[in-house]
Amino acid sequence: MRRSLSSAIGGMIVLALVSPLLRAQDTSGDYRDAAAALKLRVPEDPAERQYLGIQASSGKITLSQIKAEGILIEVFSMYSLPCQRHAPAANKLYQAIDSRRELKDKIRMIGIGMGNSPLEVEVFRNKYSVVFPLFDDRDSSIAELFRGMRTPYYIGLRNGKGAEPEVFFSKPGGFTNAEEFLDSFVKASGIQSGGVQ
């Protein structure tokens, strides 16, 4: 009797210790399928089409049509205060990619304004001088796909293994150090160590 009571108490202690850790775990798996199914409107700006290596000049593209080994997506909303606060850090991340010779031509970074109209994306672009391509969600199809997502949210995809890009990185929230974030992205992708693994 005494032994079973002790076991029960022990179990409760373990549960009490572990439960908050379980709650704090990353739920990154939730949007992987949705990310793989993303379709984006072809940018009007020829310079953005060139950056992404897109041949088409209208319609929608899948992420596999972006010519890069790795694709880094920031999902944001012009209306989200956390995204507004995070915008300078996102710009630093793009600059960090651009400044590393070994990554510059391998990774493409884009932003997707979840639920945002073209005007709303334009407001965000102008306010924060965003230099990487931003896509709108004028028909709310992306908001539907990412239902419940809290922005900012980062997704990493890797092209090259199959017909569809593989989602290898999916993380809610922003970051404070762009270089460290890029390092973790590159490590997860395997890109730096001689291309796609």
Binding site: I9, M12, I13, A16, S19, P20, Y79, L81, S117, E120
Partner: protein, 197 residues
């Protein structure tokens, strides 16, 4: 105290400690409250497009009284009624307008943000948003009097999510009254401002 009892007390203390730690971490992540889905509309409009906008004077969070007719012959006025401070959609809506300042100013427009919350609540909320460029006015007492004049006071004492655009002659040029659960489209407001500029 028996050994089992001591273990029980220890177990409860550990569980409480971790619950507090976990909820504090969650609270840090959430600066706004999801108030759930509300009845889309719960009031009867008392004004029409083309009519003179009912004048009002309300106190702003800076302590200054703001009167609608002060803007006559000077600015178009976008009156933005929102349901509640700290509510997620309201926070998004005004955070978005905050970075769209250039568009409103380019069209000779000012925003008057109105809520039926009291001044201290509005002050705390706007401070947490790092401030807003437009006046935030409290329609707390007599409770919802201005919202009532326009016919956007709901039966539970909060205002509808409504936009009224008032031109420089004080006439109502646009009424955007829609589902309280949905953010008003920025495009529509800007289109109307460009039309009456």
């Amino acid at each position: 105290m028996k050994r089992e009892n001591r273990a029980c007390v220890l177990c409860v203390l550990v569980a409480v400690f971790w619950a507090v730690v976990a909820s504090a971490a969650d609270a840090e992540k959430r600066e706004t409250i999801d108030i759930g889905k509300l009845k889309p509309m719960d009031s009867e409009l008392k004004v029409k497009v083309g009519e003179q906008a009912p004048d009002f004077t309300l106190k702003s969070i800076t302590g200054k009284a703001v009167t609608l007719s002060e803007f006559r012959e000077k600015n178009n006025v976008v009156i933005s009624f929102i349901p509640a401070a700290w509510a997620a959609i309201c926070s998004d809506q005004w955070s978005g307008y905050n970075i769209a300042k250039d568009i409103f100013q380019k069209n000779g427009a000012v925003i008057l943000g109105i809520s039926t919350d009291n001044l201290p609540t509005l002050h705390a909320w706007v401070t947490q948003m790092d401030g807003l460029w437009f006046p935030v006015l409290s329609d707390f007492w007599p409770h919802g009097a201005v919202a009532g004049k326009y016919g956007v006071l709901r039966s539970d004492g909060i205002a509808e999510r409504a936009i009224f655009i008032v031109d420089k002659k004080g006439r109502i040029r646009y009424i955007g009254l829609q589902d309280i659960n949905i953010r008003p489209p920025l495009e529509e407001i800007v289109k109307e401002l460009e039309r009456i500029k």
